[in-house]
């Protein structure tokens, strides 16, 4: 049971990285990024590519993988999302959905459909005892890294000039633009950074969750449940939602095994009956 809770916290910290990106991009550009899971997978494969092609170690790969994905994501935003910003919201949904299929198909084309396991990198390949339970130390280290990164993202949003602009646009796009905030450029930047966060999560999680072309889909579904639960575009909602979803899933997993996603879905569905705008935030429904 204790291990389940610990696993939930670890998974929650990864979900937080991916849902923060989803939430930011939605808040800024009303873009629901269906390709977010594919970018997460891209992070994992970029890690493999760097490790195999350059012969670099895990840590270098972890650093480089997000840096490889960010320019690709920025190019995607410029080519596919930017030109249709004036169209109804649903068109960007459709495009990112197609992009997701393209990226996953491309990964399968280059790397095949097999699952790759990565051993936990060395100083963190040991097992520790947490209250008498064996636990791989890498999970704790990875969770700390993702929590640190998430915290710094939230700090940047809250206290930096860029963060101020992002919050202004999320609050009232028209007014913010009238005051001279360049929404387009900001969206490109944030889209790239959100993809970087997803890629970091993918690379960081590779030794825990294994690498697979469809690895992004499960975490995308969970992240979607997080943002729907927390309210679309609400960062605070994402934080609470991520840990709620992860803990529900891992604790539920102890009782329902493979049915834990169905159980989680039921919980979220009941939450939505009571609060259609998101259980925790004053999120937007449409």
């Amino acid at each position: 049971m204790f291990v389940n809770i610990l696993n939930g916290v670890v998974y929650g910290s990864f979900l937080l990285l991916t849902s923060l990106g989803l939430s930011l991009v939605f808040g800024l550009g009303r873009v629901v990024n269906f390709a977010h899971g594919a970018l997460y997978a891209m992070g994992g494969y970029a890690l493999i590519a760097v490790m195999h092609a350059v012969g670099a170690g895990y840590w270098l790969g972890l650093l480089v993988a997000p840096l490889l994905v960010i320019p690709i994501a920025i190019a995607i935003e410029r080519v596919a999302i930017h030109p249709i910003r004036h169209r109804p919201d649903v068109d960007t949904l459709l495009v990112t959905f197609g992009l997701s299929s393209m990226i996953v198909g491309g990964i399968e084309y280059v790397w095949g459909t097999g699952t790759r396991l990565l051993p936990p990198p060395s100083p963190f390949d040991a097992i520790v005892y947490v209250f008498g339970n064996q636990y791989p130390i890498y999970r704790l280290a990875a969770a700390s890294v993702s929590l640190l990164v998430s915290a710094s993202v939230l700090l940047v949003i809250q206290f930096s000039p860029v963060g101020l602009r992002i919050r202004a646009i999320t609050d009232d796009p028209g007014m913010a633009e009238a005051l001279g905030v360049n929404r387009k450029r900001l969206l490109t930047l944030v889209f790239g950074c959100a993809a970087g966060l997803a890629a970091l999560a993918g690379a960081l999680g590779a030794p825990i969750f294994a690498i697979h072309p469809e690895m992004g889909m499960n975490i995308l579904i969970d992240s979607f449940l997080v943002v729907v639960l927390g309210g679309l575009g609400s960062l605070g909602g994402s934080v609470i939602g991520a840990f709620f979803v992860a803990l529900t899933k891992s604790i539920g997993g102890g009782y329902f095994a493979e049915w834990s996603t169905a159980f989680l879905f039921l919980v979220v569905a009941f939450g939505l009956i009571i609060r259609p705008t998101g259980v925790f935030g004053r999120g937007r429904v449409a």
Binding site: V32, F34, G98, M102, Y109, F224, A257, L272, A286
Partner: protein
């Protein structure tokens, strides 16, 4: 109409009625033409593809009712299709392969599931609904993988017998094709009547603006709920036909790629037109047959086509046609 109605109103109504009758005749003639194909030397393989295309067309039309006519963008329309397939296939294998009985069971299962799920889902609209619908289908996918006692996990349900209709076994081939044509034509006619009815007009009002529709006294949630359930039920008919055609089904019938497939069929043909999805489904099946050399390549190609269609032809083939139609009008006014 009431006696006090102005003459112009009568004329408009008559024109409307004429248009409806013409469209109904068009559907019947189209179905008859399609039904004649096996008898004029069209090869069996093409007939098989056409059968698949028509089943997909039924499915795409059901999505069109929800997305095109009511404005509820669903990324999880594989759910009704796959669920219907599993229910019908399991029943046909374990109890009786009677088509009506299997279909009835499939529809009962879908009703039992779609009523509560729809009750929740319709509270969301726009992007949130789209996300939620994807989650629904993905949860069904995971259940289909996990519930091995019934679904046999990733291996899928195999060994579904040939369907029987009134005691006669229907062979996959010409007989099954004719059955599919009949079903597709009936559903097309039915949906056409539905979208032209006052109920259908109400859906249009909801698509245009939910809040305004509510403000003039339309029960938006009730209508969306009904549409959700009807749409799933029709998708279940398609799923039932498909499980008999393929003699089985796998969890992949519930996968997000399938939801994307049906969406691109409807969009490619043109949302909000019943004929669009039929053309879209046919194009899709024949294109996939040409392009398939490997699953990865297909998925990559599918993604490229999907993005290209949405970027370049946002309202589909039907949109291009009607756009070309309205251009002279715009030029004049």
């Amino acid at each position: 109409m009431t006696t006090g109605a102005p003459a112009s109103c009568d004329v408009a109504l008559q024109a409307e009625a004429r248009k409806r009758r013409a469209t109904a005749i068009l559907i019947v003639v189209g179905a008859l033409l399609l039904a004649g194909l096996p008898f004029v030397g069209v090869p069996p393989f093409t007939i098989t593809l056409l059968t698949e295309a028509l089943i997909f067309a039924i499915w795409a039309m059901s999505l069109d009712l929800m997305t095109g006519y009511t404005g509820m963008l669903s990324f999880g329309h594989a759910a009704g299709f796959g669920l219907g397939g599993y229910a019908a296939g399991y029943f046909a294998r374990e109890v009786t392969a009677d088509l009506f009985a299997s279909l009835l069971v499939a529809e009962l299962v879908i009703l039992a599931v779609a009523l509560p799920i729809g009750f929740v889902a319709i509270r969301l609209s726009g992007a949130a609904f789209a996300i939620f619908s994807l989650c629904i289908a993905q949860v069904f996918f995971q259940i289909a993988v996990a519930w091995r006692a019934v679904t046999e996990g990733m291996d899928g349900l195999v060994g579904v017998p040939l369907p029987r209709l009134l005691g006669v076994t229907i062979n996959v081939g010409t007989a099954f094709y004719l059955l599919t044509v009949l079903t597709a034509a009936a559903i097309c006619l039915g949906l056409y009547q539905l979208v032209q009815s006052p109920f259908g007009r109400t859906l249009g009002a909801i698509r245009a603006n939910e809040d305004r529709a509510a403000s003039i006294g339309i029960n938006v949630r009730l209508h969306k709920w009904l549409v959700f359930v009807i749409s799933w039920a029709i998708a279940g008919i398609a799923g039932t036909l498909m499980v008999f055609m393929k003699a089985g089904t796998t969890p992949m019938s519930l996968y997000w790629i399938e939801s994307g497939n049906v969406l691109i069929m409807a969009i490619f043909g043109g949302l909000g037109t019943l004929f669009g999805p039929i053309i879209g489904a046919t194009t899709f099946v024949f294109l996939r047959d040409v392009l398939t050399t490997g699953f990865e390549v297909w998925q990559l190609a599918f993604g490229v086509v999907f993005v290209a269609v949405v970027l370049l032809f946002p309202s589909g083939l039907a949109g291009i046609v009607s756009h070309a139609w309205t251009l002279p009008w715009r030029a004049r006014s």
